[in-house]
Symmetry: C2
Subunit: 350 residues, 2 copies
């Protein structure tokens, strides 16, 4: 049942631009995470952010490592600013500078624990969108009980057309193949009934498009089928996906608290903790993966959870390495190219 992320053995040093100012526990936990990563993996990390703050933090933590290098980014996105808008207005914000370092070729990937919206916008601006894709996508497994089930979109694309779902399917299959080693991923539409014809307008219109796509399309699946991992790639608009992920995380957390209380008279705190932590890992799965790559942009951008601590930051850096080594971006570009005609809107843009 465990995730089967394909980590390759590579001799090449991976260069990561890390947004050291993004996330609830920045910069301390970000720097600690970077330090864990450079000790364990063959990576070199640019810590991107305010020079003074980062120098002070490195000193305070007593960390010196020639593989950790500060890169100044003087603008700071303030508490209360809308992250995506602030990113547009502040080219020297750390997340933007990290993206530019990748764009220039100095780094292979960017990693940020900042807001998903901010990372999306900065990646979109720096790398550009893949042909046939209009907006960045967040996708991936979000439930540890179904680690080989990638769901997309989980975020930004709230009102979709059938061609958008086809795009999610194509990229999802590349993710399933390259990151999870699934040879011929099954694809399904998330709906309210298994039969063709069941669902809302979007699902009913997308069904024939997917059926005739040549993908390994198995039809509609229902809410329970996400839990049971019935398909490797499950498609929904970002409205449904985002609500599901947040519901799942909160339900996992609530059940963990419920177990804390129910098991108190039977088990030791350590034993209870082992059970509830495992449950949290399975229901707050993005945390345990360290984050996920943004889909649809021409470059590697990993976005992690805002509340990530050092261990998760290190995992996100490892994930960036895996994504680069498995050629996720070029593989996505190649796949989209094949379906170019179907991804291009026939109607006027809306």
């Amino acid at each position: 049942m465990n995730s089967v992320l394909k980590e390759l053995q590579s001799n090449r040093e991976m260069r990561i631009a890390l947004d050291a100012m993004g996330g609830d526990f920045a910069p301390e936990e970000i720097i600690k995470g970077a330090h864990i990563a450079v000790k364990k993996k063959n990576v070199r990390i640019f810590l991107v952010g305010n020079q003074q703050i980062l120098e002070r933090e490195l000193n305070a933590l007593n960390i010196t490592d020639e593989k950790l290098q500060i890169r100044g980014a003087e603008d700071i996105i303030k508490e209360g600013e809308h992250p995506a808008i602030a990113v547009m207005q502040r080219p020297n914000a750390s997340v933007n500078v990290a993206a530019k370092i990748v764009k220039s070729g100095e780094a292979d990937a960017m990693v940020s624990m900042g807001s998903t919206g901010a990372v999306m916008v900065s990646a979109m601006k720096a790398f550009g969108m893949m042909e046939g894709i209009e907006r960045p996508i967040v996708g991936g497994p979000f439930l540890g009980f179904a680690p080989n089930t990638t769901v997309a979109d989980l975020g930004a694309n709230v009102d979709c057309k059938p061609r958008h779902l086809l795009g999610f399917a194509l990229m999802g299959c590349v993710v399933a193949r390259t990151l999870f080693g699934v040879a011929n991923p099954t694809v399904a539409l998330l709906s309210v009934g298994a039969e063709e014809g069941k669902g809302n307008n979007l699902v009913r219109e997308a069904f024939p498009l997917l059926k005739n796509s040549g993908l390994n399309f198995i039809g509609n699946v229902e809410g329970n089928d996400i839990v049971n991992g019935k398909a490797n790639v499950i498609l929904c608009d970002g409205f449904v996906g985002n609500i599901l992920v947040k519901f799942c995380e909160a339900l996992g957390t609530t059940i963990s608290h419920y177990l804390d209380a129910s098991l108190k008279s039977y088990l030791s705190a350590v034993e209870i903790n082992r059970i509830t932590e495992e449950l949290m890992t399975k229901t707050n799965y993005a945390d345990s993966m360290g984050g996920g790559p943004i889909w649809g942009v021409n470059g590697v951008a990993i976005v992690g959870h805002g509340r990530a601590k050092a261990d998760e930051v290190a995992k996100a850096i490892t994930l960036a390495k895996i994504v680069v080594e498995n050629n996720l971006i070029p593989e996505m570009q190649k796949e989209l190219q094949k379906f170019r005609r179907l991804l291009t809107p026939n109607e006027k843009p809306d």
Copy 2:
């Protein structure tokens, strides 16, 4: 945290038309459930279905009670038939006959463990729709961790207009007030961000309508807020609602299995069972309530889970009694009447 269903003390005998042929365990468990109900509550039950089958079953179960009376309904919906269509084509199917008994005034409410679609169609045909409502709605609390949070729609209305969500809100508030005793229920739109403007087209269009409705509207809530019970009435289209309920039930079941395995070495089977059963009650909550009333039809129709056994059937019968005694239907009609103008489409019907 427990449900606070307002059961009134009434001297009046409640008359229930029970679809004895609907449900996975019909007729045996349905009859047993009816028998439990008549022994405990002041109810009289029409067992509606095939006369011969029901007589045989009553004999086999050795049940005789003057408050249980068979009413013949000779048509049977066969395995594999589309339930809602079959209901249209078979006026003498048990679910239709049950609805007609209510319509004629011989019974106060119908109860069925058959398919939700079938119950909706038969209730719609027999009772007619409330003014301003186009299609029946399924709503209610679906998570035992948030027993005072009614979510609608959970089923049939997959593509909605803002006015439909207003209808769900009005009826949801009546449910919260009359069934759960919430004096001034809070109402929220399920969305992907708390701020006004966040969400898909439907949510963004529905926001001002709800804001200006005079209801106790608190804005948007997110997926996690369902778990935390942030509002008493949470609105979504039936596509989102149906996926969420099925996801929730399956996740609860999967976590229960996970706990079975994790706790085996610590606790006795009886202790584990107590914990997992409680969890199942909380995550498969509609089962534990016995079912829910169909909203928007001019009569009381309770639909339960197909896999209901005797105890749940008895609960569904009690629920029917509560719904009738609390005047749910007249209260809904009155509330909808007030908002009549806003519920009527200005555009051409779609």
